[in-house]
Subunit: 344 residues, 2 copies
Amino acid sequence: MQSSDKDKAKKTRRGSGAITLADVAKLAGVAPITASRAVNTPSQVSADVLKKVRDAVHRTGYVPNRVAGGLASSRSRLIAAVVPSMVVSVFAETIETLNNNLFEAGYQLMLGQTGYSAEREEALLEAIIGRRPDGIFLTGIMQSSKGRTRLLASGIPVVESWDLTPTPIDMLIGFSHADIGRDVAQFLMAKGRQRFALVRAEDERAMRRAEAFQGAVAKSGFKEVFVDNVGASRTLMSGRQALSRILLKTPDVDAIFCSSDLLAMGVLTEALARGIAVPQQLSIVGFGDVPHVANMVPALTTVHINARSIGQQAAEFLIGRAQGRSIKQAIVDVGFSIAERDSA
Amino acid sequence: MQSSDKDKAKKTRRGSGAITLADVAKLAGVAPITASRAVNTPSQVSADVLKKVRDAVHRTGYVPNRVAGGLASSRSRLIAAVVPSMVVSVFAETIETLNNNLFEAGYQLMLGQTGYSAEREEALLEAIIGRRPDGIFLTGIMQSSKGRTRLLASGIPVVESWDLTPTPIDMLIGFSHADIGRDVAQFLMAKGRQRFALVRAEDERAMRRAEAFQGAVAKSGFKEVFVDNVGASRTLMSGRQALSRILLKTPDVDAIFCSSDLLAMGVLTEALARGIAVPQQLSIVGFGDVPHVANMVPALTTVHINARSIGQQAAEFLIGRAQGRSIKQAIVDVGFSIAERDSA
DNA sequence: TTGAAAGCGCTAACAA
DNA sequence: TTGTTAGCGCTTTCAA
């Protein structure tokens, strides 16, 4: 007798308890589908209905359940991004730009981190595909054939990045690491440097830059390049320690190419601490061009990668695909440049 | 006559086309719910069924649709995190740790960036609640009462962070910005410094640190603190420019507290470039303790925040709540410390 | 312009 | 231990 008008029908068994579109529709006196149209495609309903539904939305504080919507429409409006690490600022820049652009277009970003681990990457892929995102952004190329197969089988648009390959899974926005290694070597040789060393982290792309660097140096007949591998530790401190080791083995070193700006800053810091003149006695080149290295003293010479433009381009591709457009030029080489400053 | 066994029943109208649990179940010769149990709670099915279902999963490459599962169970296994910016490494550290811990527990991270903008934050909140995540991590305290109301109404567990308040929405992991400002002022006064300046970005929390700093200095009878507000630009360059401006107004400045390590590095860089001795002539204190500032020369004295422990604690809270546990001590002051190094 | 019906792919509840 | 049934909250399809 005193039942409110909420429970006129027989009670259902479950549910999250939140306001649903059906509640809004009932309040507005229209069918659920009409309320749906008023919310999503207002141009399809009359002004009268629009007003009633909007009122009801306001009164109830209704927030559409995108999970249900996603299931029904098989468009999740979710994009997944896979990154080795967030604390590496170049990746953070790409993700920030990607995320901002996606958000403007009504897409949400799901973030996965591999920590540079292959098995982690595999588990991540499964978790991502399980969410049925409308697109996937990969930092790097998917190396594992199992991963490639899964991705292909999922039918989800994929952007690989930060590298070049003739056989991308789908779309690609990258640059050539071999070219970078070679160009940096030539740059340093043109400066008259003669004894080279590399400081690099355990990372497949860094390895390819290193190999091209070594190749170019060898081709010009200089002594073999000394390579210091700092392993997984990508800190300023490991750069400092690397220089110490290098000086022990090759005291006559006069040029060092590092696999990241942070390592280069470490080398630079250690050099200054030891009273080694940079760039007079020692040239140092970094990789990434993190924003602030340009304004340090001495300013770091480094390889500039346009991390933000990669993020933006990826957003365009992914949104385009999610909206059913086909991307014509889906393989883009964004290139790089050597930002010549004070350290080399 | 030649129809495959896929389409024995009448064709359905829609769908994403991917392999579903029903396909797997049919192949394994069991009911869908049994296949579901084999996949999610293997202990509930017989060894025989488990094997048949696992085989079918392998043969088909089935990946469970978490969207559908989330809708049915009203547990999305999704946690949302709101951050002002990813390129600020302290936030990146927290997010990285949060994400890693969540992933281990089978949760996925959805990332939202406010860009320090309030209206952006509002839109973000709507997008996040629409996904019905199992938890929300907020960098900072939700200031807007509208936002607080929405969050409260959503019923989703919330962790606010990076700050303290007597009235959190739900859970809280933070530290006192006023205490930091006061302690840093006292630290510098104890060092015998007499003429103070602040470099700060346009940011509510930085403002509170600044005010407490000014208060402590005033209380001790020193000249008024000169404040340089660099606005939204949080770069090393803005730190350099800030020092230039400060020197113009207060040439006798001997201590500067910056609202971030990056700004402090800028001030430090500019000081060194001008031949100002640090810390002899000028003490510089940063905020955040980004990993590498400890190893620079001179090493930066800064306020250490345990960004990773915030992320880890938040993961624990959120996962606990998502699994129905109630958190007893849901307000945590993680504190801070002044990492005294060479710059002050 | 509006609505009825039928699912999206999965799991909770109940039953066998 | 396994299965049946009935939705989760929304949108597509088809019809009026």
